[in-house]
């Protein structure tokens, strides 16, 4: 019997939860704020869905309702991607060691 591809995606999902669990526990507490801003940025990889939605033109027009939702999602995700990574970078630049 063939395995449904959904099961493979579910496996990736569950394994990633475990990876996330161990990786996040090893994050030093002093970097928890940058952790939140960077997870914010990477969860905006949802932009891939937005791009597909925006570029779809089954009817020949690129301004169908579904395209417009795609474009709106691109704007929102882009704010997050640039904002998230840049503000994380800005914070991480500030963490310095004691001058010896």
């Amino acid at each position: 019997m063939e395995i449904d591809p959904f099961i493979f995606r579910l496996s990736i999902f569950i394994l990633s939860i475990f990876v996330g669990y161990y990786v996040v526990w090893s994050v030093t507490p002093s970097l928890h704020t940058p952790l939140m801003s960077v997870t914010n940025a990477i969860s905006s990889v949802i932009i891939v869905g937005a791009i597909i939605a925006a570029l779809a033109n089954s009817s020949g027009s690129i301004f169908e309702t579904s395209n417009i939702f795609g474009f709106l999602a691109i704007v929102l995700a882009a704010v997050n991607i640039f904002g998230g990574f840049l503000v994380t970078q800005r914070m991480l630049q500030m963490y310095k060691k004691k001058k010896k």
């Binding site: 995606r9 990736i12 999902f13 990633s16 996330g20 669990y21 990786v23 996040v24 030093t28 002093s30 970097l31 928890h32 704020t33 940058p34 952790l35 939140m36 801003s37 960077v38 997870t39 940025a41 990477i42 969860s43 905006s44 990889v45 949802i46 891939v48 869905g49 937005a50 791009i51 597909i52 939605a53 925006a54 570029l55 033109n57 089954s58 690129i62 169908e64 579904s66 395209n67 795609g70 474009f71 999602a73 691109i74 704007v75 929102l76 882009a78 997050n80 991607i81 640039f82 904002g83 998230g84 990574f85 840049l86 503000v87 970078q89 914070m91 991480l92 500030m94 963490y95 060691k97």
Partner: protein
């Protein structure tokens, strides 16, 4: 056009780069490199999507324009935002992820052919469940984060809003959502899909309004987690491994942070979510408050005490952020170090309005991160320290948490400030903290109260050193 297999492999690469981005945060030295991994992963994911769609017509130009608009807004915010406002910024960003997830789910519902999910009115069962879950969690994240943003920004009062039957209503609405998803799968009617989205927006609001201002660290972490699950839901719909991996990472990250925050307050997650803490206590404590004598000091006394100490521990809290006192504090510490005093900082896990908030503020004021310690690392040192300088913290130093089983904060891990030889407590008045309880520390013999704004007092002390 790129083959589906090849693009799937590239999405896997982005997923791995995102894991490395989080991995980098295990130490400040590797963190900057980690952030570059994250950026690379994002660039790969976006480029691969362009090539796999393979449509470089007018639509593509529009995509670039919208990307540019959003990107400039994001970059502008990232450079302008003061570090004290990080909690509301993160809450605001969460709301955007949530709304983006809702929008993508709506597009997928309206044009399922594009995403290979069947055809309109005949969408695959699994996809329908995945997209409605993604949309529902996304909508909850969006409206919940908006409320959190308004509370953190001070536009909305931080006081919990509670009414009778609140939790029953939330439970009821949750069940309605599940029933609607069931009917959506049977009927494929778009009205049901819209109802799911609308009710979820409502749940988000109802879920966050009963939670008080002091519990915001938990709320932000929780919404962080939700935004991840929403992304994962959409990832299943789009059959995209980068999104599934990222959603799982972010979801578990937020969940762990919520757990750490709850543990820092010795409260269960449900206790926080059900909310209402601090609303009733505040009234009762103001009525029963008895006038106990406190020792009142000024900047001169404080400067004298610290100058002659051999070790000083600074305990910063949210009040420091409000007063923007971190730079003045740094100057004070520099002056003390010149006098040969050993200074370190003690950070409670729930100090501030989000996880790690105090650390960022101190880093901004150029405090080296190896002088800043977590509760477990430094708590034993209070017994050997001469002066503890409490600036803007309150409940996290209250010894009642160890002694009075009746107290709402009983059992909460606290910084053992009272064990140091003397305590300098900077505070504007004797008013109780967010938990609404009187701090026993104020009335101890070894405590000197410094009634003033945190920044002004610290500047005064610098002048007297």
């Amino acid at each position: 056009m790129m083959s589906a297999n090849l693009s799937a492999l590239f999405y896997l690469v982005s997923g791995i780069l995102f894991i490395l981005a989080l991995r980098g945060l295990s130490s400040p030295e590797t963190s900057r490199q980690g952030n570059y991994f994250g950026i690379t992963g994002m660039v790969i994911a976006i480029l691969v999507t362009f090539f796999s769609v393979g449509n470089f017509g007018t639509g593509f130009i529009y995509v670039l324009i919208f990307l540019f608009i959003g990107g400039s807004v994001g970059a502008f915010i990232a450079f302008k935002i003061p570090m004290t406002a990080m909690p509301e910024l993160v809450a605001g960003f969460h709301s955007l992820v949530g709304l983006a997830a809702v929008f993508v789910a709506i597009s997928a519902f309206l044009q399922p052919e594009v995403f290979n999910l069947g055809s309109s009115g005949n969408i695959k069962l699994a996809s329908l469940i995945e997209m409605s879950l993604g949309a529902a969690i996304g909508a909850i994240t969006f409206s919940g984060s908006i409320i959190a943003f308004l509370k953190l920004r001070g536009i909305m009062s931080g006081a919990p809003i509670t009414f009778k039957g609140q939790h029953f209503i939330n439970l009821f609405l949750g069940i309605i959502i599940l029933l609607l998803i069931y009917y959506l799968c049977r009927s494929q009617l778009s009205n049901i899909f819209w109802s799911i989205v609308l009710i979820s927006f409502l749940i988000g609001v109802l879920l966050i309004i009963p939670i008080g201002g002091a519990d915001m660290p938990v709320v932000i972490s929780m919404l962080n987690s939700y935004s991840g699950w929403a992304a994962a839901g959409i990832g299943f719909t789009l059959e995209n491994s980068a999104l599934i991996i990222t959603g799982a990472l972010v979801g578990s990250s937020g969940a762990i942070l919520s757990y750490i925050m709850c543990k820092g307050m010795n409260r269960s997650f449900f206790n926080v979510i059900l909310g209402g803490w601090g609303a009733t206590d505040q009234n009762s404590s103001s009525q029963t408050k008895e006038q106990k004598p406190v020792k009142n000091g000024n900047a001169d006394d404080a400067a004298f005490l610290m100058k002659n100490a051999s070790s000083v521990i600074i305990v910063p809290g949210y009040g420091m952020a409000v007063a923007q006192a971190q730079h003045a504090l740094r100057e004070m510490v520099d002056a003390l170090k010149k006098n040969g005093v050993k200074v370190s900082y003690a950070i409670h896990p729930v100090a501030g309005r989000m996880p790690g908030h105090m650390n960022v503020l101190l880093a901004e004021a150029n405090v080296p991160y190896d002088e800043v310690f977590e509760l477990e690392e430094i708590n034993n040192d209070f017994a050997n320290c001469d002066v503890a300088y409490v600036i803007g913290a309150n409940d996290v130093t209250n010894p009642v948490a160890k002694t009075d089983p009746q107290s709402p904060i009983y059992g909460m891990p606290i910084l053992d400030v009272e064990k140091s030889k003397s305590v300098l407590f900077v505070k504007r008045s004797l008013s109780p903290g967010y938990a609404g309880i009187d701090n026993d520390l104020f009335y101890r013999d070894n405590t000197l109260m410094l009634f003033a704004d945190a920044k002004k007092m610290t500047e005064e002390i610098v002048k007297n050193l």
